[in-house]
């Protein structure tokens, strides 16, 4: 095509109108580590939905496309975030003690991590985690067990770790969902109960949920920590029972 196209619209013809050669704030070092850090900070502060390539880029004085040099896709960035949290879990130190202590420690580490990064549990299980820290975490888990007596069989080790892991993930997921519900509709637990209370009471008043009614009326409602630990001990008991068989 020969129709003379203008060189570029944005550049004013006169120097006086061009402010400066577009002042680069810095060569913008930028690194995968830095990007992941910024993304995590954003997710912690504003929630996972706020992690967009634009916002992460902006936090680093860069445009969205700049990140694509370090990450092929947003999925990959999320994967790196997950691996980073695994890294934090590992850095808490070696797991020691008998198998029960070890599994308990692993469970609590994960729970703590999920509390500090509420988005973590949402990302878990999206895709398998093959990052170095994930692998290291898995290795640490398996190693902690395979050293202890009663776990000579590698299949038993695998079963124990996977079962506890499944419980932990499910339990944390439920917890986080409850916490979010509280945080969302107002501020404290009381407000949430008064918000959903009427609806629930109306439902229960139908008489279709007698057992649920009994639970809400008679059951002691322990703190989340206690519920988590009780369930965990339950699972551990199950593993113990299988060991002796």
């Amino acid at each position: 095509m020969s129709t003379g196209r203008k060189p570029r619209a944005k550049k004013a013809a006169l120097v006086w109108e061009r402010p400066e050669p577009d002042r680069r704030p810095a060569p913008a070092p930028l690194s995968r580590e830095g990007i992941v850090q910024a993304a995590i900070e954003l997710a912690d502060k504003e929630g996972l939905d706020s992690v967009s390539l634009r916002k992460v880029g902006a936090a680093l004085d860069a445009g969205p496309m700049r990140l694509y040099g370090y990450v092929a896709t947003k999925e990959e960035l999320l994967g790196l975030m997950v691996d980073e949290v695994y890294g934090e879990m590992i850095s808490e130190g070696r797991i020691r003690g008998d198998w029960r202590k070890a599994l308990r420690a692993l469970a609590h580490r994960m729970r703590r991590a999920a509390r500090e990064h509420p988005w973590f549990i949402d990302l878990l299980g999206g895709r398998p985690h093959l990052g170095p820290n994930s692998l290291a975490h898995l290795e640490a888990s398996l190693a902690a067990l395979s050293d202890t007596p009663g776990f000579e069989d590698i299949d038993a080790v695998m079963l124990a770790v996977m079962t506890v892991n499944a419980y932990v993930i499910g339990a944390i997921r439920t917890e986080v969902s409850e916490l979010r519900a509280e945080l969302q509709s107002g501020r404290n637990k009381a407000e949430w109960q008064t918000a959903t209370g009427p609806y629930l009471q109306r439902m229960i008043a139908t008489g279709d949920f007698p057992t649920l009614d009994k639970v809400l009326r008679d059951a002691t409602h322990p703190s989340l920590d206690i519920v988590f630990d009780k369930g965990l001990e339950c699972v551990l008991d199950g593993i113990a029972a299988r060991l002796l068989r």
Copy 2:
């Protein structure tokens, strides 16, 4: 403002250019149930990401905003989808048998539902589920236990149900993630293994993951069904152990 604004640009002045009075394909009955059904069909077929208000609307010959009469937000639609699946689970019939049979049945129902609707597990735990079917499912679970001997204490019932639920959710989540990984990168399990294999082998060759190495080499790798059931029995054993104490 008095500047004569044009009546409407889209309407051609001549009748011949206006095709028809915009032929309504039908008064478009439209109902919450229908919308949810369409959304579920879409999610089953094309994945959860494809569930957009526009596409759901299109499936019902309606614009996006039409749906907002039946649903205040997309979140609400997703909530309805979840409740619908709970409904399917309930409709499989009453839970019967001793507590172990009952819990096993509940677990397998959920797993089956998650297989038919792979998006289900992703939505679980986002927010608490207070829909009628969710409540009915919970009621059925609690009722199935509170009838059986050994579960007079309502707290014990709650603990057992919640623990099994946590395990099931976590286990299914892990499973689905593995399945997705296989389906994604090619077609069958072999292809996936040859895709990620080299990377894993290189990682293991570093010698940093000896136990993981042993697992990959020595462990029998049972089918997903067997793994799930073994873990489940493990948890059930734990509950049994607590019952006798």
